[in-house]
């Protein structure tokens, strides 16, 4: 767990999302699915973001401006600097035989880095509009559906090792079809390192801190 002030290298618009490219500093990019806490200028609390891309010397995060913190992050400009803490949490288990990536909306965020780590496996992406679907450019060979069509419609009969990230209803639907899927969940977090107990999710009937038990969870064998 390292915290460092990183400079913004570039900011790219990807549909309604922003790809925020930061210099890497001495931070480790970590395992796909792990996340970083990004200082949101003007806000009290940092925001958790999974790593989207790890180009040499950089860490890149895909951010959807949905609230004051993410809007502040999307408004950063080249040369600005923010504190970044990470990598945090448990990423995807990369020891898989037949990976299939499934993502919905901003859930595409960890997929480019994950795809690189797994040698560009097949991927299914779902978005709520054509504008949001422009983010599919980050994962060139993926199959893409736009609502009202859903990613679960494209899941093959025998989907192999599913690694998924997206909104809760999508993850629930994927889990119902593929109980062994690795699912990257999202929760409000104040700290990202187990201190605040704010991000709990129910796991086996108990509240577990998603920041240290996840964010990637997988049903016990």
């Amino acid at each position: 767990m390292t915290r460092e002030r990183l400079r913004v290298v570039a900011r790219e618009r990807v549909g309604p999302y922003t790809l925020l490219r930061l210099e890497r500093g001495s931070l480790d990019p970590g395992i796909p699915g792990q996340f970083f806490m990004l200082e949101a200028p003007g806000r009290l609390l940092p925001r958790p973001m999974s790593l989207c891309q790890a180009p040499p010397g950089e860490l890149a995060f895909l951010i959807e401006p949905v609230g004051p913190g993410t809007r502040a992050l999307c408004a950063l400009e080249e040369g600005d600097a923010i504190h970044v803490l990470g990598p945090l949490g448990n990423g995807f288990d990369l020891d898989v035989e037949r990976p299939l990536l499934v993502a919905g909306g901003i859930g595409i965020a960890p997929m480019p880095y994950l795809s690189d780590a797994l040698g560009s496996p097949p991927a299914i992406l779902g978005f709520r509009s054509e504008r949001h679907a422009r983010a599919a450019a980050l994962l060139p060979d993926a199959e893409v559906v736009v609502e009202p069509r859903l990613v679960t419609e494209l899941l093959p009969e025998n989907p192999g090792d599913v690694l998924a990230c997206g909104p809760e209803p999508m993850l629930e639907a994927v889990r119902a079809l593929v109980p062994r899927a690795q699912l990257a969940w999202e929760a409000l977090m104040a700290c990202g390192y187990g201190a605040c107990y704010g991000c709990v999710v129910e796991v086996d009937g108990h509240y577990e801190r998603l920041c240290i038990a996840g964010p990637v969870l997988r049903e016990a064998a």
Binding site: R3, H83, L188, M189, I212
Partner: protein, 291 residues
């Protein structure tokens, strides 16, 4: 004599982030209750314009699990351990304090008398302190709520009941609504308000209590930097605890300590403790110190 920097209870898990705990002069545990608690349903936190709300609901393994699974690992940290004790009756407080009394490595007990997110014990704070006092010889710090018309009166009452120190303050109950639905952002409704917005309120409590009782005071509430810490010392705190700032900056203890020393040096003093009570002029005696 320097000013010890602690964490506010519930704002750090030393077992997950031991390096952060080691940067403190003492580690204060999350509140331990007699029985294990799952805590409140999520969402549990909300950021406001000038602070944050939380309603965790005292999630903890219970005293038996704490003694079995946590204490042996906390002892390995090499940092003095303060255990925060909570409950729903005087018996609860007494029971947990008695269980901890034999732990050599526990330096002090902080009595959480004022959690805004769970049901309160029917007894007064002074009665809870008296029950705890009868159960342990450890130093007892009473953590008081700022939500009272006369916190100095509460301080006198817990001092008379046997408290060895005060922890000032706990969070104060607040509420924030979702813009679209106009429903509370936190599942349980209100939560404990912390962060910079709490600081002037906490400072006023420390100021009032330092004038009222001659006990060491751990000051806390929205401390983010050395200047904030100096304010608490000047108001009468003998130690300072960091809460919400730890969420955004795990390196805050070392930073605040260094900034506090610089603030004190700038004012021509050697040690921050020499400025204890400076805001009171010459009216405050200055012997009290935290453990």
């Amino acid at each position: 004599m320097t000013v010890p920097i602690l964490n506010a209870s519930g704002c750090l898990d030393a077992l997950v982030a031991p390096e952060v705990a080691r940067s403190l002069d003492a580690f204060v545990t999350k509140t331990v209750t007699p029985l294990s608690r799952e805590g409140n349903p999520p969402p549990r936190i909300a950021e406001t314009e000038h602070g944050m709300l939380n309603s965790i609901g005292l999630q903890n393994p219970g005293i038996a699990g704490f003694l079995r699974d946590h204490v042996p690992r906390l002892e390995d940290l090499g940092v003095p351990i303060w255990v925060s004790v909570g409950g729903f009756s005087a018996d609860d407080y007494a029971r947990v304090c008695a269980s901890i009394d034999g732990c050599d490595d526990v330096a002090a007990i902080e009595l959480n008398l004022s959690c805004p997110n769970v049901e309160e014990a029917p007894e007064t704070a002074a009665e809870l302190v008296a029950a705890a006092r009868a159960a342990t010889n450890k130093p007892l710090y009473a953590k008081l709520s700022p939500a009272t018309s006369d916190v100095a009166e509460s301080a006198r009452a817990v001092a008379d009941a046997g408290a060895d120190g005060l922890s000032l303050v706990n969070t104060i109950r607040g509420l924030q609504l979702e813009a679209d639905t106009l429903r509370p952002q936190i599942a349980n409704g209100p939560g404990g308000y912390s962060g910079p917005a709490l600081r002037p309120i906490a400072l006023a409590c420390v100021y009032a209590c330092a004038a009222a009782v001659d006990l060491p005071i751990v000051g806390m509430g929205g401390v983010t930097c050395g200047r904030d810490a100096l304010d608490f010392v000047s108001a009468g705190a003998s130690a300072v605890a960091l809460g919400t700032i730890l969420f955004s900056d795990p390196e805050a203890p070392a930073r605040v300590r260094a900034e506090l020393e610089a603030e004190v040096g700038r004012r021509g003093h050697d040690f921050a403790a020499g400025l204890r009570g400076a805001s009171h002029g010459s009216t405050l005696s200055r012997p009290a110190s935290a453990e």
